[in-house]
Protein backbone atom coordinates (compact mmCIF):
# COMPACT_ATOMS: atom_id res chain seq x y z
CA UNK A 1 0.00 0.00 0.00
CA UNK A 2 2.92 2.32 0.73
CA UNK A 3 4.20 1.95 -2.83
CA UNK A 4 0.72 2.47 -4.20
CA UNK A 5 0.39 5.61 -2.08
CA UNK A 6 3.70 6.90 -3.44
CA UNK A 7 2.58 6.13 -6.97
CA UNK A 8 -0.67 8.03 -6.50
CA UNK A 9 1.20 10.97 -4.97
CA UNK A 10 3.55 10.93 -7.94
CA UNK A 11 0.73 10.88 -10.46
CA UNK A 12 -1.06 13.76 -8.76
CA UNK A 13 2.16 15.76 -8.61
CA UNK A 14 2.97 14.77 -12.19
CA UNK A 15 -0.30 16.19 -13.46
CA UNK A 16 0.61 19.58 -12.09
CA UNK A 17 4.16 19.25 -13.41
CA UNK A 18 2.85 18.61 -16.93
CA UNK A 19 0.77 21.75 -16.66
CA UNK A 20 3.83 23.70 -15.49
CA UNK A 21 5.95 22.51 -18.40
CA UNK A 22 3.49 22.49 -21.28
CA UNK A 23 3.68 26.24 -21.90
CA UNK A 24 7.45 26.17 -21.75
CA UNK A 25 7.54 23.32 -24.24
CA UNK A 26 5.13 25.09 -26.60
CA UNK A 27 7.25 28.25 -26.67
CA UNK A 28 10.45 26.26 -27.13
CA UNK A 29 8.96 24.09 -29.85
CA UNK A 30 7.29 26.82 -31.90
CA UNK A 31 9.40 29.92 -31.27
CA UNK A 32 12.69 28.08 -30.76
CA UNK A 33 13.30 30.16 -27.66
CA UNK A 34 14.18 28.99 -24.18
CA UNK A 35 11.81 31.08 -22.15
CA UNK A 36 13.66 31.80 -18.92
CA UNK A 37 10.67 33.89 -17.83
CA UNK A 38 8.52 30.82 -17.42
CA UNK A 39 9.23 30.19 -13.74
CA UNK A 40 8.52 33.78 -12.83
CA UNK A 41 5.30 33.77 -14.86
CA UNK A 42 4.07 30.74 -12.91
CA UNK A 43 4.81 32.49 -9.63
CA UNK A 44 3.09 35.62 -10.87
CA UNK A 45 -0.01 33.50 -11.48
CA UNK A 46 0.33 32.07 -7.97
CA UNK A 47 0.50 35.52 -6.43
CA UNK A 48 -2.50 36.68 -8.42
CA UNK A 49 -4.46 33.71 -7.08
CA UNK A 50 -3.16 34.30 -3.57
CA UNK A 51 -4.19 37.93 -3.51
CA UNK A 52 -7.52 37.19 -5.15
CA UNK A 53 -8.23 34.65 -2.41
CA UNK A 54 -6.87 36.80 0.37
CA UNK A 55 -8.62 40.04 -0.45
CA UNK A 56 -11.53 39.13 -2.70
CA UNK A 57 -12.17 35.60 -1.36
CA UNK A 58 -12.24 34.10 -4.83
CA UNK A 59 -11.63 30.38 -4.80
CA UNK A 60 -8.24 29.67 -6.48
CA UNK A 61 -9.82 27.00 -8.66
CA UNK A 62 -12.35 29.49 -9.97
CA UNK A 63 -9.54 31.99 -10.43
CA UNK A 64 -7.70 29.71 -12.88
CA UNK A 65 -9.34 31.14 -16.03
CA UNK A 66 -8.83 34.71 -14.80
CA UNK A 67 -5.13 34.07 -14.17
CA UNK A 68 -4.85 32.48 -17.61
CA UNK A 69 -6.43 35.51 -19.31
CA UNK A 70 -4.30 37.99 -17.35
CA UNK A 71 -1.07 36.15 -18.10
CA UNK A 72 -2.08 35.69 -21.73
CA UNK A 73 -2.31 39.46 -22.10
CA UNK A 74 1.05 39.93 -20.39
CA UNK A 75 2.73 37.25 -22.49
CA UNK A 76 1.21 38.60 -25.71
CA UNK A 77 2.50 42.09 -24.94
CA UNK A 78 5.96 40.89 -23.92
CA UNK A 79 6.39 38.87 -27.09
CA UNK A 80 5.06 41.65 -29.32
CA UNK A 81 7.10 44.41 -27.76
CA UNK A 82 10.32 42.73 -26.71
CA UNK A 83 10.95 39.27 -28.07
CA UNK A 84 9.63 39.58 -31.63
CA UNK A 85 12.45 41.98 -32.33
CA UNK A 86 15.10 39.32 -31.86
CA UNK A 87 13.33 36.33 -33.43
CA UNK A 88 15.73 34.41 -35.62
CA UNK A 89 18.79 35.77 -33.83
CA UNK A 90 21.46 33.41 -32.48
CA UNK A 91 20.67 31.47 -29.29
CA UNK A 92 22.91 33.71 -27.21
CA UNK A 93 20.89 36.81 -28.08
CA UNK A 94 17.43 35.39 -27.43
CA UNK A 95 18.59 33.70 -24.25
CA UNK A 96 20.24 36.83 -22.91
CA UNK A 97 17.05 38.76 -23.63
CA UNK A 98 14.77 36.36 -21.79
CA UNK A 99 17.29 36.24 -18.94
CA UNK A 100 17.26 40.03 -18.76
CA UNK A 101 13.46 40.10 -18.79
CA UNK A 102 13.43 37.46 -16.08
CA UNK A 103 15.85 39.42 -13.89
CA UNK A 104 13.46 42.33 -14.25
CA UNK A 105 10.26 40.42 -13.43
CA UNK A 106 11.82 38.26 -10.71
CA UNK A 107 13.37 41.13 -8.82
CA UNK A 108 10.30 43.32 -9.20
CA UNK A 109 8.31 40.49 -7.66
CA UNK A 110 10.77 40.28 -4.76
CA UNK A 111 10.47 44.03 -4.24
CA UNK A 112 6.69 43.95 -4.49
CA UNK A 113 5.80 40.72 -2.67
CA UNK A 114 8.87 40.22 -0.42
CA UNK A 115 10.66 36.90 -0.36
CA UNK A 116 8.76 35.20 2.48
CA UNK A 117 6.66 32.19 1.76
CA UNK A 118 2.87 32.40 1.60
CA UNK A 119 0.23 29.83 0.99
CA UNK A 120 -3.43 29.77 0.12
CA UNK A 121 -5.15 28.03 3.02
CA UNK A 122 -8.62 27.07 1.98
CA UNK A 123 -11.28 27.45 4.63
CA UNK A 124 -12.98 25.18 5.20
CA UNK A 125 -10.28 22.67 4.13
CA UNK A 126 -11.47 20.18 1.57
CA UNK A 127 -10.18 17.19 3.48
CA UNK A 128 -9.01 14.03 1.81
CA UNK A 129 -10.34 10.90 0.22
CA UNK A 130 -9.55 7.40 1.46
CA UNK A 131 -9.53 4.89 -1.37
CA UNK A 132 -8.83 1.51 0.21
CA UNK A 133 -5.86 2.69 2.27
CA UNK A 134 -4.55 5.21 -0.27
CA UNK A 135 -5.13 8.72 0.93
CA UNK A 136 -5.62 11.49 -1.62
CA UNK A 137 -6.11 15.09 -0.52
CA UNK A 138 -9.10 16.45 -2.40
CA UNK A 139 -7.53 19.81 -3.21
CA UNK A 140 -4.65 18.01 -4.95
CA UNK A 141 -7.07 15.81 -6.80
CA UNK A 142 -9.00 18.82 -8.09
CA UNK A 143 -5.72 20.49 -9.04
CA UNK A 144 -4.70 17.47 -11.05
CA UNK A 145 -8.08 17.33 -12.77
CA UNK A 146 -7.79 21.02 -13.64
CA UNK A 147 -4.23 20.56 -14.88
CA UNK A 148 -5.19 17.68 -17.15
CA UNK A 149 -8.24 19.54 -18.41
CA UNK A 150 -6.11 22.58 -19.27
CA UNK A 151 -3.60 20.46 -21.14
CA UNK A 152 -6.46 18.80 -23.00
CA UNK A 153 -7.85 22.20 -23.85
CA UNK A 154 -4.50 23.35 -25.22
CA UNK A 155 -4.20 20.17 -27.24
CA UNK A 156 -7.67 20.62 -28.69
CA UNK A 157 -6.89 24.25 -29.45
CA UNK A 158 -3.74 23.29 -31.35
CA UNK A 159 -5.48 20.49 -33.23
CA UNK A 160 -8.84 21.96 -33.95
CA UNK A 161 -8.90 25.73 -34.27
CA UNK A 162 -7.69 28.03 -37.00
CA UNK A 163 -5.27 29.72 -34.63
CA UNK A 164 -3.93 26.37 -33.48
CA UNK A 165 -3.43 25.24 -37.07
CA UNK A 166 -1.67 28.53 -37.81
CA UNK A 167 0.67 28.00 -34.85
CA UNK A 168 1.54 24.53 -36.07
CA UNK A 169 2.05 25.84 -39.60
CA UNK A 170 4.47 28.48 -38.34
CA UNK A 171 6.29 25.81 -36.34
CA UNK A 172 6.70 23.64 -39.42
CA UNK A 173 7.77 26.23 -41.94
CA UNK A 174 7.73 29.90 -41.12
CA UNK A 175 8.19 31.16 -44.63
CA UNK A 176 5.58 28.92 -46.19
CA UNK A 177 3.13 29.96 -43.48
CA UNK A 178 3.87 33.56 -44.24
CA UNK A 179 3.18 32.98 -47.91
CA UNK A 180 -0.18 31.47 -46.97
CA UNK A 181 -1.12 34.79 -45.43
CA UNK A 182 -0.43 33.99 -41.78
CA UNK A 183 0.80 36.98 -39.80
CA UNK A 184 3.82 35.32 -38.27
CA UNK A 185 4.52 38.09 -35.77
CA UNK A 186 1.11 37.92 -34.17
CA UNK A 187 1.15 34.11 -34.20
CA UNK A 188 4.38 34.27 -32.23
CA UNK A 189 2.74 36.65 -29.80
CA UNK A 190 -0.31 34.39 -29.43
CA UNK A 191 1.92 31.34 -28.88
CA UNK A 192 3.92 33.10 -26.20
CA UNK A 193 0.68 34.35 -24.68
CA UNK A 194 -0.67 30.78 -24.57
CA UNK A 195 2.55 29.64 -22.89
CA UNK A 196 2.18 32.40 -20.31
CA UNK A 197 -1.52 31.58 -19.84
CA UNK A 198 -0.66 27.95 -19.08
CA UNK A 199 1.97 29.21 -16.66
CA UNK A 200 -0.55 31.47 -14.93
CA UNK A 201 -3.14 28.70 -14.69
CA UNK A 202 -0.53 26.28 -13.35
CA UNK A 203 0.51 28.97 -10.90
CA UNK A 204 -2.96 29.33 -9.41
CA UNK A 205 -3.17 25.55 -9.00
CA UNK A 206 0.31 25.56 -7.49
CA UNK A 207 -0.68 28.13 -4.87
CA UNK A 208 -3.24 25.73 -3.42
CA UNK A 209 -0.76 22.88 -3.03
CA UNK A 210 2.53 24.53 -2.09
CA UNK A 211 3.77 27.62 -0.29
CA UNK A 212 4.90 30.26 -2.78
CA UNK A 213 7.69 32.81 -2.89
CA UNK A 214 9.51 34.46 -5.79
CA UNK A 215 12.41 32.19 -4.87
CA UNK A 216 10.38 29.19 -6.07
CA UNK A 217 10.52 30.47 -9.66
CA UNK A 218 13.97 29.05 -10.42
CA UNK A 219 13.13 25.62 -9.09
CA UNK A 220 10.01 25.56 -11.28
CA UNK A 221 12.01 26.59 -14.33
CA UNK A 222 14.45 23.77 -13.59
CA UNK A 223 11.53 21.33 -13.45
CA UNK A 224 10.30 22.58 -16.83
CA UNK A 225 13.79 21.87 -18.26
CA UNK A 226 13.82 18.35 -16.87
CA UNK A 227 10.29 17.55 -18.05
CA UNK A 228 10.96 18.78 -21.59
CA UNK A 229 14.15 16.75 -21.88
CA UNK A 230 12.56 13.74 -20.18
CA UNK A 231 9.49 13.55 -22.36
CA UNK A 232 11.09 14.69 -25.56
CA UNK A 233 10.69 18.19 -26.85
CA UNK A 234 7.84 19.50 -28.83
CA UNK A 235 4.59 17.61 -28.33
CA UNK A 236 1.75 17.75 -25.83
CA UNK A 237 1.81 13.96 -25.15
CA UNK A 238 5.59 14.20 -24.65
CA UNK A 239 5.13 16.80 -21.94
CA UNK A 240 2.46 14.67 -20.29
CA UNK A 241 4.75 11.65 -20.22
CA UNK A 242 7.65 13.78 -18.97
CA UNK A 243 5.59 15.43 -16.26
CA UNK A 244 4.05 12.22 -14.96
CA UNK A 245 7.42 10.44 -15.06
CA UNK A 246 9.09 13.23 -13.13
CA UNK A 247 6.26 13.25 -10.60
CA UNK A 248 6.59 9.51 -10.00
CA UNK A 249 10.40 9.60 -9.89
CA UNK A 250 10.35 12.47 -7.43
CA UNK A 251 7.94 10.81 -5.05
CA UNK A 252 9.86 7.51 -5.10
CA UNK A 253 13.16 9.29 -4.59
CA UNK A 254 11.59 11.21 -1.71
CA UNK A 255 10.80 7.84 -0.19
CA UNK A 256 14.34 6.54 -0.78
CA UNK A 257 16.58 9.56 -0.08
CA UNK A 258 14.30 11.99 1.72
CA UNK A 259 12.18 14.73 0.16
CA UNK A 260 14.88 17.42 0.27
CA UNK A 261 16.91 15.62 -2.41
CA UNK A 262 14.22 15.33 -5.05
CA UNK A 263 15.75 18.29 -6.90
CA UNK A 264 19.18 16.66 -6.86
CA UNK A 265 17.68 13.51 -8.31
CA UNK A 266 15.84 15.35 -11.06
CA UNK A 267 18.96 17.27 -12.12
CA UNK A 268 21.04 14.10 -12.11
CA UNK A 269 18.39 12.65 -14.36
CA UNK A 270 18.56 15.71 -16.63
CA UNK A 271 22.32 15.50 -17.08
CA UNK A 272 22.35 11.73 -17.60
CA UNK A 273 19.53 11.97 -20.15
CA UNK A 274 21.25 14.75 -22.06
CA UNK A 275 24.44 12.69 -22.10
CA UNK A 276 22.93 9.38 -23.13
CA UNK A 277 19.49 9.96 -24.60
CA UNK A 278 19.02 13.59 -25.58
CA UNK A 279 15.82 12.86 -27.49
CA UNK A 280 13.88 11.84 -24.38
CA UNK A 281 11.46 9.00 -23.77
CA UNK A 282 9.05 9.83 -26.57
CA UNK A 283 11.66 10.94 -29.08
CA UNK A 284 11.90 14.39 -30.56
CA UNK A 285 8.75 15.45 -32.37
CA UNK A 286 7.03 18.64 -33.30
CA UNK A 287 3.65 20.04 -32.37
CA UNK A 288 1.17 18.76 -34.90
Amino acid sequence: VLYLQVLVNGLVLGGLYSCIAVGFSLVWGVLNIINLLHGSLIILGSYAAFFAYHYLHINPFLFVPVAAVLLFCLGYAVQLMFINRVMGSPVLITLTLTFGLNLLLYNLMILAFKADFRKVILSPPLGSLNLGGVIVPIDRLISMAFALALIGLLYALLRGTRIGRAIVAVRMDREAAQLMGIKVGSIYAITFGLGAAMAGAAGSLFSVMFPISPETANALLGKAFVICVLGGLGSVPGVMVGGLTLGIIESYSALLFGPEYSVTVSFTLLILLLMFRPTGIMGRQGFQ
Binding site: G100, L104, L111, G185, Y188, G222, F225, T264, M275
Partner: protein
Protein backbone atom coordinates in the same frame (compact mmCIF):
# COMPACT_ATOMS: atom_id res chain seq x y z
CA UNK B 1 52.16 48.51 -33.04
CA UNK B 2 49.28 46.60 -31.42
CA UNK B 3 51.83 44.41 -29.69
CA UNK B 4 53.50 47.49 -28.24
CA UNK B 5 50.19 48.79 -26.93
CA UNK B 6 49.39 45.40 -25.41
CA UNK B 7 52.81 45.25 -23.79
CA UNK B 8 52.43 48.78 -22.41
CA UNK B 9 49.00 47.88 -21.01
CA UNK B 10 50.40 44.82 -19.24
CA UNK B 11 53.28 46.82 -17.77
CA UNK B 12 50.87 49.50 -16.58
CA UNK B 13 48.66 46.84 -14.97
CA UNK B 14 51.71 45.30 -13.29
CA UNK B 15 52.56 48.64 -11.75
CA UNK B 16 48.99 49.18 -10.50
CA UNK B 17 49.34 47.58 -7.03
CA UNK B 18 52.19 49.95 -6.23
CA UNK B 19 50.24 53.12 -6.95
CA UNK B 20 46.55 52.36 -6.48
CA UNK B 21 44.70 52.13 -3.18
CA UNK B 22 42.98 49.02 -1.96
CA UNK B 23 39.57 49.84 -3.42
CA UNK B 24 40.87 50.36 -6.95
CA UNK B 25 42.92 47.20 -6.66
CA UNK B 26 39.85 45.18 -5.65
CA UNK B 27 37.89 46.61 -8.55
CA UNK B 28 40.76 45.79 -10.91
CA UNK B 29 40.83 42.25 -9.50
CA UNK B 30 37.15 41.80 -10.31
CA UNK B 31 37.79 43.09 -13.81
CA UNK B 32 40.66 40.70 -14.34
CA UNK B 33 38.55 37.82 -13.06
CA UNK B 34 35.78 38.54 -15.54
CA UNK B 35 38.34 39.38 -18.22
CA UNK B 36 40.02 35.99 -17.92
CA UNK B 37 36.65 34.21 -17.76
CA UNK B 38 35.28 36.05 -20.80
CA UNK B 39 38.44 35.46 -22.83
CA UNK B 40 38.32 31.78 -21.91
CA UNK B 41 34.61 31.59 -22.68
CA UNK B 42 35.25 33.11 -26.09
CA UNK B 43 37.14 29.96 -27.15
CA UNK B 44 33.87 28.07 -26.87
CA UNK B 45 31.26 30.72 -27.49
CA UNK B 46 33.07 32.93 -29.96
CA UNK B 47 35.40 30.74 -32.01
CA UNK B 48 33.20 27.68 -32.31
CA UNK B 49 29.83 29.28 -31.60
CA UNK B 50 28.84 26.87 -28.83
CA UNK B 51 26.45 28.65 -26.45
CA UNK B 52 28.08 27.52 -23.22
CA UNK B 53 26.43 28.37 -19.92
CA UNK B 54 28.61 26.02 -17.92
CA UNK B 55 31.01 28.78 -16.83
CA UNK B 56 29.60 28.79 -13.29
CA UNK B 57 30.09 25.03 -13.04
CA UNK B 58 33.83 25.29 -13.74
CA UNK B 59 34.32 28.49 -11.79
CA UNK B 60 32.56 27.00 -8.78
CA UNK B 61 34.49 23.75 -9.12
CA UNK B 62 37.78 25.63 -8.90
CA UNK B 63 36.68 27.82 -6.02
CA UNK B 64 35.24 24.96 -4.00
CA UNK B 65 38.19 22.65 -4.55
CA UNK B 66 40.41 25.26 -2.93
CA UNK B 67 37.89 25.89 -0.15
CA UNK B 68 37.61 22.22 0.73
CA UNK B 69 41.27 21.30 0.58
CA UNK B 70 42.86 24.45 1.97
CA UNK B 71 43.08 23.02 5.50
CA UNK B 72 45.04 19.95 4.42
CA UNK B 73 47.13 21.06 1.45
CA UNK B 74 49.34 24.06 0.65
CA UNK B 75 47.58 26.56 -1.58
CA UNK B 76 49.45 25.81 -4.79
CA UNK B 77 48.71 22.12 -4.35
CA UNK B 78 45.01 22.95 -4.15
CA UNK B 79 45.33 24.87 -7.40
CA UNK B 80 46.90 21.75 -8.88
CA UNK B 81 44.01 19.58 -7.71
CA UNK B 82 41.55 22.10 -9.19
CA UNK B 83 43.45 21.92 -12.46
CA UNK B 84 43.16 18.13 -12.59
CA UNK B 85 39.46 18.11 -11.64
CA UNK B 86 38.70 20.87 -14.13
CA UNK B 87 40.44 18.96 -16.89
CA UNK B 88 38.52 15.78 -16.15
CA UNK B 89 35.16 17.56 -16.06
CA UNK B 90 35.99 19.54 -19.20
CA UNK B 91 36.83 16.30 -20.97
CA UNK B 92 33.46 14.83 -20.04
CA UNK B 93 31.61 18.00 -21.12
CA UNK B 94 33.61 17.95 -24.33
CA UNK B 95 32.41 14.41 -24.97
CA UNK B 96 28.84 15.60 -24.46
CA UNK B 97 29.23 18.30 -27.09
CA UNK B 98 29.77 15.55 -29.62
CA UNK B 99 26.15 14.52 -29.12
CA UNK B 100 24.15 17.64 -28.40
CA UNK B 101 24.21 21.23 -29.58
CA UNK B 102 22.12 24.37 -29.66
CA UNK B 103 19.32 24.73 -27.12
CA UNK B 104 19.99 21.34 -25.57
CA UNK B 105 23.57 22.33 -24.88
CA UNK B 106 22.32 25.50 -23.20
CA UNK B 107 20.11 23.39 -20.94
CA UNK B 108 23.05 21.09 -20.28
CA UNK B 109 25.20 23.99 -19.14
CA UNK B 110 22.53 25.24 -16.74
CA UNK B 111 21.81 21.76 -15.53
CA UNK B 112 25.47 21.02 -14.88
CA UNK B 113 25.91 24.09 -12.65
CA UNK B 114 22.70 23.30 -10.80
CA UNK B 115 23.62 19.65 -10.36
CA UNK B 116 27.06 20.52 -8.99
CA UNK B 117 25.45 22.94 -6.55
CA UNK B 118 22.85 20.39 -5.43
CA UNK B 119 25.42 17.63 -5.02
CA UNK B 120 27.64 19.93 -3.01
CA UNK B 121 24.76 20.93 -0.74
CA UNK B 122 23.97 17.26 -0.25
CA UNK B 123 27.60 16.46 0.55
CA UNK B 124 27.97 19.33 2.99
CA UNK B 125 24.75 18.53 4.82
CA UNK B 126 25.25 14.79 5.12
CA UNK B 127 29.02 14.59 5.51
CA UNK B 128 30.29 17.77 7.12
CA UNK B 129 27.07 19.26 8.56
CA UNK B 130 28.04 22.75 7.46
CA UNK B 131 26.90 25.14 4.78
CA UNK B 132 29.69 27.38 3.63
CA UNK B 133 33.41 27.43 4.18
CA UNK B 134 35.97 30.00 5.15
CA UNK B 135 39.13 30.40 3.11
CA UNK B 136 41.66 32.08 5.35
CA UNK B 137 45.14 32.00 3.86
CA UNK B 138 47.99 34.48 3.67
CA UNK B 139 47.13 35.26 0.07
CA UNK B 140 46.36 38.97 -0.11
CA UNK B 141 44.66 41.03 -2.80
CA UNK B 142 47.92 42.07 -4.46
CA UNK B 143 49.00 38.48 -4.86
CA UNK B 144 45.58 37.46 -6.22
CA UNK B 145 45.70 40.42 -8.58
CA UNK B 146 49.08 39.38 -9.91
CA UNK B 147 47.99 35.78 -10.37
CA UNK B 148 44.87 36.85 -12.25
CA UNK B 149 46.87 39.23 -14.42
CA UNK B 150 49.22 36.40 -15.29
CA UNK B 151 46.25 34.16 -16.06
CA UNK B 152 44.55 36.77 -18.25
CA UNK B 153 47.76 37.31 -20.23
CA UNK B 154 48.17 33.56 -20.54
CA UNK B 155 44.60 33.06 -21.79
CA UNK B 156 45.12 35.82 -24.28
CA UNK B 157 48.38 34.33 -25.57
CA UNK B 158 46.86 30.86 -25.80
CA UNK B 159 43.91 32.31 -27.69
CA UNK B 160 46.26 34.13 -30.02
CA UNK B 161 48.23 30.96 -30.67
CA UNK B 162 45.07 28.91 -31.22
CA UNK B 163 43.75 31.47 -33.68
CA UNK B 164 46.94 31.22 -35.70
CA UNK B 165 47.07 27.44 -35.56
CA UNK B 166 45.33 24.78 -37.61
CA UNK B 167 43.10 24.11 -34.59
CA UNK B 168 41.87 27.71 -34.63
CA UNK B 169 40.93 27.56 -38.29
CA UNK B 170 39.27 24.22 -37.70
CA UNK B 171 37.19 25.72 -34.84
CA UNK B 172 36.05 28.61 -37.01
CA UNK B 173 34.89 26.19 -39.70
CA UNK B 174 33.13 24.01 -37.12
CA UNK B 175 31.36 27.12 -35.86
CA UNK B 176 30.27 27.88 -39.41
CA UNK B 177 29.11 24.48 -40.53
CA UNK B 178 29.94 21.32 -38.69
CA UNK B 179 29.01 18.94 -41.49
CA UNK B 180 31.23 20.82 -43.88
CA UNK B 181 34.08 20.70 -41.39
CA UNK B 182 33.75 16.95 -41.17
CA UNK B 183 33.66 16.70 -44.96
CA UNK B 184 36.80 18.77 -45.21
CA UNK B 185 38.64 16.16 -43.16
CA UNK B 186 38.81 18.06 -39.89
CA UNK B 187 39.02 15.88 -36.81
CA UNK B 188 35.89 17.41 -35.29
CA UNK B 189 35.75 15.41 -32.03
CA UNK B 190 39.39 16.19 -31.26
CA UNK B 191 39.00 19.89 -32.02
CA UNK B 192 35.88 20.25 -29.89
CA UNK B 193 37.24 18.38 -26.90
CA UNK B 194 40.57 20.22 -27.05
CA UNK B 195 38.73 23.53 -27.17
CA UNK B 196 36.59 22.64 -24.18
CA UNK B 197 39.48 21.43 -22.10
CA UNK B 198 41.61 24.52 -22.74
CA UNK B 199 38.75 26.95 -22.16
CA UNK B 200 37.33 25.25 -19.08
CA UNK B 201 40.67 24.69 -17.37
CA UNK B 202 41.21 28.45 -17.41
CA UNK B 203 37.76 29.03 -15.89
CA UNK B 204 38.49 26.50 -13.15
CA UNK B 205 41.81 28.11 -12.27
CA UNK B 206 40.25 31.56 -12.18
CA UNK B 207 37.73 30.18 -9.69
CA UNK B 208 40.52 28.61 -7.65
CA UNK B 209 42.55 31.83 -7.50
CA UNK B 210 39.46 33.86 -6.57
CA UNK B 211 38.56 31.62 -3.60
CA UNK B 212 40.85 33.42 -1.10
CA UNK B 213 39.54 36.74 -2.41
CA UNK B 214 35.96 35.87 -1.45
CA UNK B 215 37.02 34.51 1.94
CA UNK B 216 33.68 32.81 2.56
CA UNK B 217 32.01 30.49 0.09
CA UNK B 218 28.59 28.88 -0.08
CA UNK B 219 27.43 26.54 -2.85
CA UNK B 220 24.78 29.08 -3.90
CA UNK B 221 27.42 31.76 -4.28
CA UNK B 222 30.07 29.72 -6.09
CA UNK B 223 27.70 28.08 -8.57
CA UNK B 224 25.52 31.13 -9.20
CA UNK B 225 24.14 31.00 -12.78
CA UNK B 226 24.49 34.78 -12.88
CA UNK B 227 28.26 34.27 -13.28
CA UNK B 228 27.66 32.37 -16.52
CA UNK B 229 25.33 35.05 -17.80
CA UNK B 230 27.55 37.95 -16.87
CA UNK B 231 30.45 36.39 -18.75
CA UNK B 232 28.23 35.90 -21.79
CA UNK B 233 26.86 39.44 -21.70
CA UNK B 234 30.36 40.86 -21.36
CA UNK B 235 31.55 38.92 -24.38
CA UNK B 236 28.42 40.01 -26.27
CA UNK B 237 28.93 43.65 -25.35
CA UNK B 238 32.58 43.60 -26.27
CA UNK B 239 32.08 41.64 -29.46
CA UNK B 240 33.17 38.13 -30.24
CA UNK B 241 34.74 38.72 -33.62
CA UNK B 242 38.04 39.80 -32.13
CA UNK B 243 40.21 37.97 -29.67
CA UNK B 244 40.35 41.02 -27.40
CA UNK B 245 36.69 41.91 -27.99
CA UNK B 246 35.35 40.52 -24.69
CA UNK B 247 37.71 42.78 -22.75
CA UNK B 248 35.89 45.82 -24.12
CA UNK B 249 32.73 44.51 -22.53
CA UNK B 250 34.29 43.61 -19.19
CA UNK B 251 35.54 47.08 -18.27
CA UNK B 252 32.30 49.07 -18.69
CA UNK B 253 30.07 46.38 -17.20
CA UNK B 254 32.20 45.87 -14.08
CA UNK B 255 32.36 49.63 -13.53
CA UNK B 256 28.64 50.01 -14.15
CA UNK B 257 27.60 47.21 -11.83
CA UNK B 258 29.91 48.55 -9.10
CA UNK B 259 28.29 51.96 -9.47
CA UNK B 260 24.76 50.58 -9.47
CA UNK B 261 25.44 48.32 -6.49
CA UNK B 262 26.64 51.28 -4.46
CA UNK B 263 23.98 53.71 -5.57
CA UNK B 264 20.88 51.53 -5.89
CA UNK B 265 21.49 48.36 -3.88
CA UNK B 266 17.82 47.32 -3.95
CA UNK B 267 17.27 48.02 -7.60
CA UNK B 268 20.59 46.61 -8.78
CA UNK B 269 19.25 43.35 -10.21
CA UNK B 270 16.34 45.09 -11.95
CA UNK B 271 18.72 47.57 -13.56
CA UNK B 272 21.02 44.71 -14.55
CA UNK B 273 18.10 43.16 -16.40
CA UNK B 274 17.53 46.44 -18.24
CA UNK B 275 21.21 46.60 -19.18
CA UNK B 276 20.98 43.08 -20.63
CA UNK B 277 18.02 44.19 -22.77
CA UNK B 278 19.70 47.38 -23.95
CA UNK B 279 22.78 45.45 -25.05
CA UNK B 280 20.73 42.89 -26.93
CA UNK B 281 18.74 45.56 -28.74
CA UNK B 282 21.33 48.17 -29.52
CA UNK B 283 24.63 46.33 -29.61
CA UNK B 284 23.88 42.79 -30.79
CA UNK B 285 27.31 42.54 -32.42
CA UNK B 286 29.15 44.27 -29.61
CA UNK B 287 31.47 47.23 -29.52
CA UNK B 288 33.83 45.77 -32.11
CA UNK B 289 30.89 45.08 -34.41
CA UNK B 290 29.71 48.67 -33.97
CA UNK B 291 33.14 50.04 -34.79
CA UNK B 292 33.31 47.84 -37.86
CA UNK B 293 29.90 49.02 -39.03
CA UNK B 294 30.73 52.67 -38.52
CA UNK B 295 34.00 52.17 -40.36
CA UNK B 296 32.17 50.49 -43.23
CA UNK B 297 29.71 53.38 -43.38
CA UNK B 298 32.39 56.02 -43.37
CA UNK B 299 34.13 54.34 -46.28
CA UNK B 300 30.94 54.18 -48.28
CA UNK B 301 30.31 56.96 -50.78
CA UNK B 302 27.72 59.31 -49.33
CA UNK B 303 24.35 58.72 -50.86
CA UNK B 304 21.19 58.99 -48.78
CA UNK B 305 19.54 55.89 -50.21
CA UNK B 306 22.32 53.40 -49.71
CA UNK B 307 23.12 54.63 -46.25
CA UNK B 308 19.58 54.02 -45.01
CA UNK B 309 19.77 50.51 -46.37
CA UNK B 310 22.91 49.80 -44.44
CA UNK B 311 21.58 51.07 -41.13
CA UNK B 312 22.01 48.40 -38.53
CA UNK B 313 20.42 48.35 -35.11
CA UNK B 314 23.17 50.05 -33.18
CA UNK B 315 23.82 52.78 -35.68
CA UNK B 316 20.08 53.24 -36.07
CA UNK B 317 19.88 53.88 -32.34
CA UNK B 318 22.54 56.55 -32.59
CA UNK B 319 21.01 58.34 -35.54
CA UNK B 320 17.65 58.39 -33.78
CA UNK B 321 19.08 60.48 -30.99
CA UNK B 322 20.01 63.15 -33.53
CA UNK B 323 16.33 63.75 -34.32
CA UNK B 324 15.51 65.06 -30.88
CA UNK B 325 13.29 63.57 -28.23
CA UNK B 326 10.06 63.61 -30.24
CA UNK B 327 11.70 61.77 -33.10
CA UNK B 328 13.24 59.36 -30.64
CA UNK B 329 9.92 58.52 -29.00
CA UNK B 330 8.23 58.13 -32.35
CA UNK B 331 10.81 55.81 -33.77
CA UNK B 332 11.04 53.89 -30.50
CA UNK B 333 7.30 53.31 -30.79
CA UNK B 334 7.73 52.19 -34.35
CA UNK B 335 10.60 49.91 -33.43
CA UNK B 336 8.90 48.38 -30.42
CA UNK B 337 5.34 47.94 -31.55
CA UNK B 338 4.84 48.37 -35.24
CA UNK B 339 7.98 46.83 -36.63
CA UNK B 340 7.93 43.07 -36.57
CA UNK B 341 11.07 41.78 -38.14
CA UNK B 342 9.54 38.32 -38.34
CA UNK B 343 6.64 39.48 -40.45
CA UNK B 344 8.71 41.12 -43.11
CA UNK B 345 12.03 40.40 -44.64
Amino acid sequence: MTRLIALAAVVALLALPAIADNYVLRLATTMLMYGALALGWNFIGGFAGYPSFATAAFFGLGAYTVAMLIKVLPIYATFGVALVLGTVMAFVVGLVTLRISGMFFVIFGFGLSELMRELLVWWEITQTHTMGRYVFVPFDTTLIYEHLLGLAVLVFLVGWLIRRSRLGVALLIIGDDETMARQAGINVPFAKIAMFVVSSVFMTIVGAVMAPRFGYLTPNFAFNPLISFQVVIMALLGGMQRLWGPLLGVIPLVLLSELLQVRFPFWYSVLLGLIFMVIVYFLPRGVTGLVEDIWARLRQPLSPRSSTDAVNDAWGGLSISLQGIAGFVESLWLRLVRRQPTGES
